[in-house]
Amino acid sequence: MKFLLYNNCTVKIGLGAIQSAGTPAAITTTDRTALCTSFRPTRSANFKNVQTLADATDKSLTVSTTGSVEIEINYDGDTGNVNPIFFMKEGYFVKLELVLAEGTPVTQTFTGVIQTASQPVVADDIVKESATIKLGVAYYAGLE
């Protein structure tokens, strides 16, 4: 058995149009692994209880899926890159790719809309961006 370490992961980020504009065009991603400090995807199922009077237990039925990605990146303050990626872009489509590669690369894709984004500036600390991307959104079918 061999465990996967962070150094074998690649994080790619692409920003699309604002959701209110409708179905987004294809989003191109850029490798931001050098900036990214954490990437936490979560997927879950929504259930409906279809229990009948004859059932002694819940009968939960999956009716939809949802999820979110929490991501934290260092702010790139280099000349030409002084704009935040997520902050002030709430409501925009985002495509995220996580490439897991120790041997053959496995790419996990997440497409959603920026729900929250923060950019704390704290004395004596590096400036970072934190964002939560909502998966399962209007104008985009699926979570990927």
Binding site: N7, C9, T10, V11, A34, C36, T37, N74, D124, I126
Partner: protein
């Protein structure tokens, strides 16, 4: 950045030796500026390389004193920040009527030079932030007292990639 002390320590030395005001304060008793090196890394030597004599007070010794924490990295293995501490000690001696004015004046000047200093011409970029200060003294008998003003700096060394 492979080894940040090799960048930070020359910067501290250069800043402290290049300042004419600080040189004036270190050259007491009508001695000419630069009569001795006066600023030393890690330890005061037995023989000053300029004067060829034992170092005289006042003098400055700076040394690394650990780190604030581990180096920060990203998922991409990029080392982003390291935060080594540097202690600047200013030693002085007084005989008879005790006075810390000499050491205090030098410490003030060091603080003016280093507090908030941000160097972008090196890799890593270096930001100096003073963490704390202290003043200690030792009675050596015979009316002689050695003073030490100490300034602790947290340096933030940022890798340019």
């Amino acid at each position: 950045m492979l080894f940040d002390p090799a960048v930070i320590e020359p910067d501290i030395y250069t800043v402290l030796t290049a300042d004419a005001t600080l040189s004036d304060l270190l050259a007491v008793d009508n001695l000419p500026n630069g009569y001795q090196q006066g600023v030393y890394a890690h330890i005061s030597p037995e023989t000053d390389p300029v004067s060829r004599k034992p170092p005289r007070f006042p003098l400055i010794v700076f040394t690394r004193e650990g780190s604030f924490g581990a180096d920060q990295i990203t998922i991409g293995k990029t080392r982003v920040i390291s935060t080594p501490y540097y202690r600047i000690n200013i030693y002085g001696m007084s005989s008879g009527a005790m006075s810390m004015v000499q050491v205090q004046s030098i410490a003030n000047r060091v603080a003016e030079l280093l507090d908030g200093r941000y160097v972008t011409s090196t890799n890593p970029c270096i930001l100096y932030k003073r963490e704390s200060t202290d003043m200690v003294y030792e009675d050596q008998g015979g009316g002689r007292v050695v003073f030490c003003a100490t300034l602790l700096y947290k340096t933030t060394a940022q890798v340019i990639s």
